[in-house]
Amino acid sequence: MYKIGVRIMPRAEVLDTQGRAVGMTLKSKGFQVMDCKVGKFVILQIEGESPAHARAQATKISEDLLCNTLIETFQIEELP
């Protein structure tokens, strides 16, 4: 069993309304924040023969459902 994290972020060229709203609130509270982006983090428990196999599965899952690659990007990392 492998624990895989999928980090999903809005693409740079896409307006990140959530990040903008959070950033504006932080600025209004006086925090020195130049930019703010908000994404998602998904943790998957995957049965696999090897870490590489589990990562490949997670990539497939991300492309199929977790991430809309038109507007988002994703990164996969193995978690302890």
Partner: protein
């Protein structure tokens, strides 16, 4: 004339009866189709995906609904050229399913917008809006938080050049690319829009301009 129209239902669909009544008003025969079941596409003449908040808009609006068993059948129907019409969440689901180009994102102004708006027809559709004329204006409500249509600049040009733009906003309420309120696929059988024509059937609703979107 008495077309059989399948109306898809997901957990969280809430415009199902409005669509049902509008389809019935048009003289066609509506039948509800449950998201967990596949269906025989030959039993119908067309399909509608109503608005709502399928699966609570989890992950992204329409993302989970796009992978429901009923959508496998709908994909077959799309490939066979059946007319398919999505409204609001139905638009989001069809984009997530890859049956329409683009994606619908949070409104640029961040707010849920619920108001009467005006749209302009760009291209008519063979079943849902055959009698709509180019530049014809219609009044009907919008009610969405995720209605900002996004496509890459290249794709936008492609759908404009290929006459796939169904309707545009007269005054863009949500930051949609190209003022787009509704689009079609390249084959022009799948069509969807964010505004709600089913909520503008009778004058007492504030407008009856939605009639032309259902009447064959």
């Amino acid at each position: 004339m008495s077309d059989k129209i399948g109306v898809l239902r997901f957990p969280g669909t809430n415009c199902d009866w409005d669509i049902y009544k509008a389809v019935e008003w048009s003289g066609a025969k509506p039948t509800f189709l449950w998201h967990q079941d596949t269906f025989n596409v030959e039993d119908y003449d067309g399909f509608v995906i109503p608005g709502g908040f399928s699966y609570g808009d989890y992950l992204r609006s329409g993302a989970l609904a796009a992978h429901a068993p009923a959508m496998d059948s709908l994909r077959t129907a799309a490939e066979k050229g059946y007319p398919i019409f999505g409204v609001c969440n139905g638009f989001q689901i069809l984009c997530e399913a890859g049956l329409l180009p683009g994606a619908l994102m949070r409104n640029a102004g961040l707010r849920f917008i619920d108001q009467m708006i005006e749209i302009e027809t760009q291209n008519s559709h063979k079943r849902f809006g055959l009698k709509l004329k180019k530049n014809q204006k219609s009044r009907m409500p919008i009610a969405h938080a995720d209605g900002r249509y996004f496509v890459t600049d290249d794709e936008l040009k492609k759908i404009q050049d290929n006459d796939q733009v169904y309707c545009t906003y007269v005054a863009n309420p949500n930051g949609s690319a190209g003022n787009i309120a509704g689009v079609m696929n390249a084959k022009k059988n799948v069509v969807a829009m964010m505004p709600h024509p089913e909520r503008a059937i009778y004058e007492w609703m504030g407008s009856s301009d939605g009639q032309l979107y259902f009447r064959n």
